[in-house]
């Protein structure tokens, strides 16, 4: 059974019809990529799933329950964690305090263990654990945002443009980390403009175009698809 099932959702910004009936499924353990150009509705889709925006029509079913009307903070408790676009680290807190904030909802005593596994995944964060997050480089901030999102022990991790503004070397580091997270059993829904990278690590992909799903396929066949190659991968 699908972990997340999005059925024909319509989301509006005031009068602007941003999502015009988007449907897709994410199975447990998969990496799913949502690709598309600016304004296609990728971020809006993530915000709608995570509860920051409410769809006017349609339903979102997560773990067998309807969640489209549920508040964002309660969804975190149910295991949906989001890394927002532009990272959103707490600039005035240290790296370690940021990670602590990520474990805000938890009351079990194993936060320290997970802190260490976060540091194991991104050793650079450990070097800078007492440093204010605002003084980190863009790549380090992205690593911190991902590590922080993992601190709430999510089942589903929503990633919004993790490669944005990063140097190619760091994009590789971040995407390797995403693969490792997936291999540990976390389901991943990834929104990316960098379709090339996203399709390399994803199992399946959905191509969004002006608020609708244009087509979908396995990541491998999407990479071979002529339209995708032309429009999103820059291959003629």
């Amino acid at each position: 059974m699908a972990l997340l099932e999005v059925k024909d959702i319509h989301t509006y910004y005031g009068n602007i019809h941003a999502l015009k009936g988007i449907s897709f499924e994410v199975d447990s353990g998969e990496i799913i990529a949502l690709i598309g150009s600016n304004g296609a509705g990728k971020t809006t889709t993530l915000r709608t799933i995570s509860g920051l925006m409410a769809p006017r029509e349609g339903s979102i079913i997560y773990g067998g329950r309807e969640i489209s009307a549920m508040r964002a903070d309660l969804l975190v408790l149910r295991g949906i964690s989001m890394v927002p676009e532009g990272r959103g680290v707490f600039a005035k807190l240290t790296v370690e305090e940021n990670l602590d904030m990520g474990a805000y909802i938890r009351s079990d005593g194993r936060v320290a263990e997970d802190l260490n596994s976060g540091y194991a995944m991104f050793p650079r964060l450990k070097e800078r654990r007492k440093q204010f997050a605002g003084t980190l480089s863009g790549g380090e901030q992205q690593m911190l945002a991902i590590a922080r999102a993992l601190m709430s022990k999510p089942r589903l991790l929503l990633l919004d443009e993790p490669s944005m503004g990063l140097a190619p070397v760091l994009v590789d580091v971040v995407f390797e980390a995403i693969q490792r997270i997936a291999s540990e059993g976390v389901t991943i829904l990834l929104v990316e403009q960098n379709a090339h990278m996203a399709l390399q690590i994803a199992d399946r992909g959905y191509v969004l175009q002006s608020g609708e799903v244009a087509f979908s396929d396995t990541a491998a066949s999407l990479q071979r698809n002529e339209i995708v190659q032309k429009t999103y991968l820059g291959i003629d």
Binding site: A72, D73, L77, G88, F90, M101, F132, G134, G165
Partner: protein, 624 residues
Amino acid sequence: MNILASQASRRVLGLGLLSGGFILFAGVIGMVAAFHEREIVDDFISLGQVLLLGSPFITSYLMAARLTETGEDPPVILAGGALIGLLTALPTVILLLFNSDEYRYLLDASLKIIPFVAASYLAWKSHAQGNETRQVAATWLVAALLIGIVSFGFALIFEVKGDLRGVLVNVDRDWVEVVTFDHRRELWTGIGLLLAASAGAGLAGVIMRILPDIPRRALLYGLGVTLLVGAFGETVRLILQENLDRDTLREIFRRDTLRQNAAAVLFIVSTLAGFLWAMFGGRAQSEFAALDDSRRHTMRNLGMLLFAALLLALPWLIGRTLSDVAVTIGIFVLMGLGLNIAIGLAGLLDLGYVTNYAVGAYILAVLTSIGPLGLFKGSFTFWMVIPVALLAAMFAGFIFAVPVLRMRGDYLAIATLGFGEIIGKLALSDWLKPLIGGAQGVQNIPKPFLFATELKNPEQLYYIVLVASLVTLFVSIRLNNSRTGRQWMAIREDEDVATAMGIDTARAKLLAFTLSAATGGVAGAIFAAKVGTVFPNSFTVFISINVLSLIIVGGIASNPGIVVGAVVLIGMPELLREFSDFRFLMYGALLILMMINRPQGLIPSKLVMHEAHAGAKPKLSAGD
């Protein structure tokens, strides 16, 4: 020409004219004459004269600091200081001449000449830029015409009004007396004195700057202490009055003014103290830093203990009048601590804080008053009603917070500003008049009793404010370090991310507004009991603005900063009554200066300090 073009001389000219413009402005708005009424040292110098001479002194000091950096020679800098002094006096001298009976014609003449001179200057500029003759001529004509019209307008006004006083009401006999150093009748002697004193102050400023470090710090310290004691003479005398016998006091003060001998002794002693501190202060500090932790800890605790003892003994040290001021300051400290929960901790810009203050005050008034509007004719006491006022204010805070929960930043500020206005209008309304008295307010509010003692003096009320402030301080520190504090921090930084961390932002914001309101209610109740009457016009938007300003001036989210901010913004105007008319002018100037030079506040919190730091420094790691 060459000298004029050099950067140093342009800086001197610019600064001098700025300083002169300031002095002229201060005179025209009546500040100089009003400040003259406060004598700093008996029969020697007044606050007005300090203003006249302080401007060239400080300007030259700053000029000298800049020019030493760029490597100018001392004689050049000294000449610059004298020039700044002369330029400072110049606009005032011109106004003096225009204002005098004998030289009134100069005003007429210059009003006639100015259009031609100004137009010719502009035409010359235009010529120098290489414009054609036709354009130069056109520039001259248009400029002469436009400036001429303005000039003619002024001439007409002066003609109709008879003299300058008709237009500039503050350019009167008092002003002339001050700026001529009491030589109103011998105008040229007065002008000479003004020019000489101003140039001397400019020179003194330069000399002060180029002195070696240690004597300079000592002298500045001595000068500063003497001026402060002189300016706050009334306050200092009130404090000493509690602790000295009358004869000794009379040796030091003539009424509220420092005597010359006392001032001289004070200056020498404080300069010496400054000298010692400049010589050995650095070493003392490093020795303190070198102490081992436990001993440093003991010394800190000792310091805290001393401070606590001082706080406890304060009313007995400073006497009744100043205790009254201290209570007012305390009420604002209380409100500052409360509002800081919303603004500093949760980042919610609340401009309607007066609402809570008013609710607390009116609740106490209506429930305890023994007058016609009192509901229970005194059967409820202050202590029984304080919790009610607190809960009522929390309730009001809650009610007002619900509709604005989804608003952020500027929108929130404007909405809360509206609530503050609503409360003011409600208090004045006919609708609530049977309950809270409309414009007449509620009267006959009894003072609180402690056992059988009526706490009717400010010295006694001080302790209520002190205890309330300490409790609030304790609660807000504990809150800040709690899970709730972390929620607020996350919301302050980024509401969306806070939600993504699983924080119920609506609940956290409601809590911040409600808790913040609680202290406002207590402050209002104490205010009502202190004054004994409650009027609607005590609850204007200025209360909200004052509380906000004291938080910003002290340093946002910094608890010691709030106390300092309250003393500076609430206490100073109470103590310096000569400032009263110019309070808002100085308030504005102070705020602008603060925001330029010390945007993080007088005593910034650690977090903000880090932020300001991070902005100034390059990022530590290389960008990607």
